[in-house]
């Protein structure tokens, strides 16, 4: 190790020498290498210079929550031995088309730096980054030890890029392609895995649409004996799935393809035995276009399920209830609101171990009123599933009383994301604002880390949040509040706040500027369609040089208004790759 030559110690006095000699750096590094939590490592690095250096030498994984908070140069200079990088790029509201295209967060410059400094890079996890085929080809060709690629909510690449990865990454263990803006021109990328390639453990191409060569897939699955996670796309039929299941009895996570086929009774029996053959499956997803007829084939497998993802399957309450009866060990459940309150009641009755529930809307943009789920379903789950701590719930109506009951039943919420889909909707029984609902949440759930609010809300909600939500790290606000005071309460009151994202609220300059010092302790602030002016942003930028203040203007809007503001702390200075629509002040 080159450690000795690179360590420049100032000459200490004898006593210090004795102390440091008794605890050699190598030992310290070994001890620190056992630390995996990023926060622990950050704390360690602040103890003293020696510990800072020991930590930076021993760190192999790095997590960067905002790719613009640091530059590739700074990163590679500080950490010489990185094998695993996680990078997040665009602000979260880019998922909902609020961020202009070509905003940035391009991975390429990072890859170039990594090729020079981290040639033995093994893992890359990207979220909301712009990734091109060229970048994927570069990645495939420059990192011989590359093992793990995970792309979530990224855009800019096509299946050609995946072909490059499959062709060149001889040691690949994981390829996880989720919910990206990918141009899916053909499924031939899958056939690019060489016949000699056997190391795959995770393969997730569930969100791609093109047909892949099923023979190639079957051969791949056969020879990768360590394959634990297989999530196929819609193009794979039930019959093909059966063959795959027989090839991979060791599977632990399965994403099925299309669960629809014209079957006679015999193939149904085959399907059931195929599933029974895989005794280790604990996670199930996919089930595209599931027809109730074939669901019973899953019943036996459901006994061991801990995570069931039906968020792309429009099941009605009856057939869903029949399925969920067989899932007593469920810990995480994602469903569509087609299961309705009755379906959720079945969850409450059958899944006492449930910790996480996500209910997505099947028809969020429909003008006509389609039932979906109401507060009753949520309440029913809370009575039956006392361990619930993570919820994402899309509904059309809610009451303060229901939420109060829910958190009384489940006081351990860490993530409470409630989306009443009609903006500014009050409690539909009392017609009052939903302030008391979220008040109950923050008062009761002391461990709350993440909160998304909705419905008709006055400043009172934010007073409650500022007063009680002492562990809150992420807050999402839309169409809420009455005055600057709301935002101020949050900025003043939540010591652990890291991410604040606000849209369409009456918060203005006073609120923005009240958080001056606060923003340096936060990852980022997003404000769009609020009452913030360009001048206020300029003032903020001037006073806080370690923040980047970016403004995105919309066509045809008033010049003095700052339509969209994205503020984040950075040690890398203002970025140079912003498109013309983004002004850095």
């Amino acid at each position: 190790m080159e450690s000795e030559s690179k360590r420049k110690k100032e000459s200490p006095n004898t006593a210090e020498l004795a102390v440091t000699a008794s605890f050699p750096d190598e030992v310290l590094e070994i001890v620190l290498s056992l630390l995996t939590s990023h926060r622990d490592r950050s704390s360690v690095s602040l103890v003293c210079k020696d510990w800072y250096h020991a930590e930076r030498w021993s760190r192999t994984q790095v997590f960067i929550g905002n790719c613009y908070s640091v530059s590739p140069e700074i990163l590679t200079r500080r950490f010489p031995n990185i094998r695993s990088v996680t990078l997040k790029g665009k602000p979260r509201f880019s998922d909902f088309n609020l961020v202009p295209p070509n905003w940035g967060a391009d991975i390429h410059a990072w890859l170039v730096a990594f090729a020079a400094k981290y040639p033995f890079l093994e893992e890359l996890r990207l979220k909301r980054m712009a990734v091109s085929d060229e970048s994927l080809e570069f990645l495939a060709s420059n990192f011989p030890n590359f093992k793990l690629l995970s792309l979530l909510s990224c855009d800019g690449f096509s299946t050609d890029g995946l072909a490059a990865i499959a062709t060149h990454c001889k040691n690949l263990t994981e390829l996880d392609i989720q919910e990206n803006g990918i141009e899916d021109s053909s499924g031939s990328w899958l056939s690019c895995f060489p016949e000699s390639f056997t190391s795959l453990e995770v393969l997730n191409f569930a969100n791609l649409t093109s047909e892949v060569n099923t023979d190639a897939l079957e051969r791949l699955v056969s020879r990768c004996k360590s394959l634990k996670v297989l999530k196929v796309n819609k193009s794979i039929s039930l019959e093909q799935l059966q063959r795959l299941l027989f090839r991979a009895p060791q599977l632990e996570e399965l994403g099925t393809g299309s669960f629809l086929q014209d079957l006679t009774a015999r193939p149904y029996a085959d399907l059931e035995s195929a599933f029974n053959n895989c005794k280790n499956i604990h996670t199930l997803s996919g089930l595209w276009e599931a027809v109730p007829l074939y669901l019973p084939a899953l019943y036996n497998s459901c006994a061991n399920l801990t995570f069931l993802n039906l968020s792309y399957t429009a099941l009605q309450s009856g057939e869903f209830a029949k399925l969920v009866v067989h899932c007593p060990r469920l810990r995480r459940l994602w469903v569509l609101d087609t299961v309705e309150d009755k379906g959720l009641e079945a969850v409450g009755s059958n899944c006492p171990l449930l910790e996480e529930l996500r209910v997505f809307p099947a028809d969020p943009f429909d003008e006509e009123i389609i039932h979906g789920v109401t507060e009753e379903g949520f309440v029913a789950v809370s009575f039956g599933c006392r361990r619930l701590h993570y919820v994402l719930y899309f509904c059309w109506q809610m009451t303060n009383a229901a939420v109060a009951t829910i958190v009384q039943n489940c006081p351990n919420f860490t993530h409470f994301r409630l989306c009443i889909m009609t903006p500014g909707l009050p409690d539909y029984l009392t017609n009052e604002p939903m302030d008391e609902a979220f008040g109950a949440v923050v008062k009761t759930c002391s461990k709350l880390q993440r909160l998304s609010v909705s419905g008709l809300l006055t400043d009172l909600t934010f007073e409650y949040i500022g007063k009680y939500a002492k562990n809150l790290e992420t807050l999402s606000v839309a169409f809420a509040g009455r005055s600057d005071r709301g935002m101020q309460c949050v900025l003043e009151g939540c010591p652990k706040l890291r991410k604040l994202e606000i849209r369409d609220c009456p918060f203005g300059n006073e609120a923005l500027l009240s958080g001056l010092e606060k923003y340096e302790s936060m990852r980022s602030l997003w404000m769009s369609a609020c009452n913030v002016t360009m001048n206020a942003c300029r003032r903020l930028a001037k006073q806080m040089p370690r923040l980047n203040v970016e403004v995105m203007k919309e066509d045809g809007s008033d010049d003095s208004q700052a339509d969209k503001v994205y503020i984040y702390r950075t040690v890398a200075g203002p970025r140079r790759d912003a498109p013309p629509s983004v002004l850095t002040l």
């Binding site: 792309y312 028809d363 003008e367 029984l429 008709l456």
Partner: protein
Amino acid sequence: MSTTPLEHDYIGLSESSSVPRSSDKLSYSSSSSSCTEENYTSSNKACLNFKETELRLGLPGSQSPGRKPSHGLSLFGKDIENNNSNSNNTNGYAAPSPLKSLVSGAKRGFSDALDGASRNWGLSINGKPDAELGKGAVLYSPRGGLDDKCKIVKEVDVLPLSPKPVQEKKNQVPALNENEPTSAPAAKAQVVGWPPIRSFRKNTMASNLVKNNDAAEGKSGSGCLYVKVSMDGAPYLRKVDLKIYSNYMELSSALEKMFSCFTIGQCDSHGLPGQDGLSESRLMDLLHGSEYVLTYEDRDGDWMLVGDVPWDMFTETCRRLRIMKGSEAIGLAPRAMEKCKNRT
């Protein structure tokens, strides 16, 4: 030419100046697809205004015309205060009384539109020009011209119920509660990025709908075929996937289960087990009796009685289902038979 006297105009008044005009426009459209949407819309608006004055009808969920016209805005916030005196089964944003008047007015308007349309469609079936015959024969492979016509007719029929056909989905979530002193840029009819659902999921769900409409293009056995089901008097719609049923019996019993909580004039979505059984069988009686009739809207925008055509043909052409009060469906049967004749 019309043989039915103009007793019932579009909104049930005996004298009307607007309806003959609109019906003229319709007959104009039946001969070719050259009738532009603009022509139609202006007569449409004339009808609408007239309706608003007389019966206080409006877009689904909206209040009386005194309210702001912004789409759906009046649904929320304090506007619904006065109407919230009902059982807790009603959704706060669809106060029953205006909705009832909407539905009842819609029924009347609908049946009259039906009669109105029949002057042009029904009779045109009898003595139609060759273009019409050709159209009838190619019922299942709609061409551009047909689509225009479909849209036009659909808007006549379903205007009281919904301003847009199923496949014309837009992000029509209302903007802000206007009582809130918010600062959003000039109230948009469409709200970008709301509800907060990832584009990927949005597109995947949307492509399911597109698939529904493509289903008739010969992709049998794949995809789902979701159609909306409405029932007169019910406060909300449901959706069924026609692909999972193989005959009319299965569909009808599924619908019975779905809507069994709604008996005439009663809205009880809780449905205690005992009552469920009672109301289910009662609904069956209703459906099999003369109280309720199951109808569907086909690709041409015509409303037909369910059961007249072979099941496969039905699933290919059905766009939407409606459980209609028997009294409203009187005009349907003959037309369905006529249309059937033309297909064979």
